[in-house]
Amino acid sequence: MKHTFHSITHRVVRGAGLCAAVVFLVACGEQPQTPTRLSAAKKDASPVVGTPAEAFKQGSWKSGDANAWNQQLRARANYGMSDYQRVNN
């Protein structure tokens, strides 16, 4: 198969054109919708950590014990808001 100078040049130009088109069209693509930038807010401590004001603390859960904290809130919600459960227990 014969490759003339003209056909090689044509292919090179065509390839370069395609590459350029791909590079330029990337800018037209859709941006990812997943949040990549984290919140600018300061880092917040979890409520599980508790509060230094021990006098205001309710229940016997230990600061930092996530399971105990969950149980405390669950028990409080069931006792305080579920009248059917409170009456039956």
């Binding site: 409520p47 969950n70 405390q72 305080g80």
Partner: protein
């Protein structure tokens, strides 16, 4: 981990505004700002219904999406909070919120809009738990004290339920079974999607 949610049982709400008062008192919310309010539908018409509305701490919060300074964040418990030091008071969140939760104090010079204020699910803000700075900016951090939001705990008819989504959904379910009506929970689908309580929305499905 608990996923905190609000439910207002419209069959029980008697429009007493106890939740509004409890919130204002607990957090010393300034004049003109109402983190929670009671809305009555068909007021004066027999069969009127009232619901207590505040920030619902949406699963896919529109306020978070539109904030130009990204001052919002979501805690591990699913509570949507914001950093007032980052907020510029632009008000975009107010337009985006379907519940009208973001509030703006208007006591600034020339009526300048202040930093946004909203319900924190009694979880304070990014300042140290129980600190004076946290109280000044965001109010009391009751979750860190092992308590639930003051509005729900103070509700006289227990219409307003707050806490882990599974727990409050169970409480409401027991009531609906007993009375045989009032299963519709206004705002639940908008805030948490149309899935069952505590379940994440299915991928690719609009909620």
């Amino acid at each position: 981990m608990a996923r905190m949610k609000f439910i207002c049982d419209a069959e029980r709400c008697i429009e007493c505004n106890g939740c509004v008062t409890a919130c204002k008192n607990e957090h010393e919310v300034p004049w003109g700002v109402n983190r929670r309010r009671v809305v009555t539908l068909n007021d004066g018409v027999p069969g009127e219904k009232s619901i207590s509305v505040a920030c619902m701490h949406c699963s896919d919060a529109p306020c978070m999406a539109v904030c130009p300074t990204n001052c919002f964040y979501r805690t591990d418990e699913g509570v949507v909070l914001h950093d007032k030091d980052v907020c510029i008071g632009c008000g975009y969140c107010s337009y985006a919120c379907p519940f009208g939760a973001p509030q703006f104090p208007g006591q600034g010079t020339f009526g300048v809009r202040g930093k946004m204020d909203k319900c924190t699910f009694c979880a304070g803000g990014p300042e140290a738990n129980g600190s004076e700075a946290e109280f000044e900016k965001y109010g009391r951090n009751r979750l860190a004290e092992g308590k639930l939001p003051a509005c729900a705990e103070m509700c006289s008819t227990k219409a307003l339920l707050a806490g882990d989504g599974d727990v409050v959904a169970d409480i409401l379910r027991a009531r609906v079974i007993q009375r045989g009506k009032g299963a519709e929970v206004w705002g639940w689908g908008t805030a948490y999607g149309s899935q069952q309580a505590g379940q994440p929305p299915k991928e690719g499905k609009a909620s």
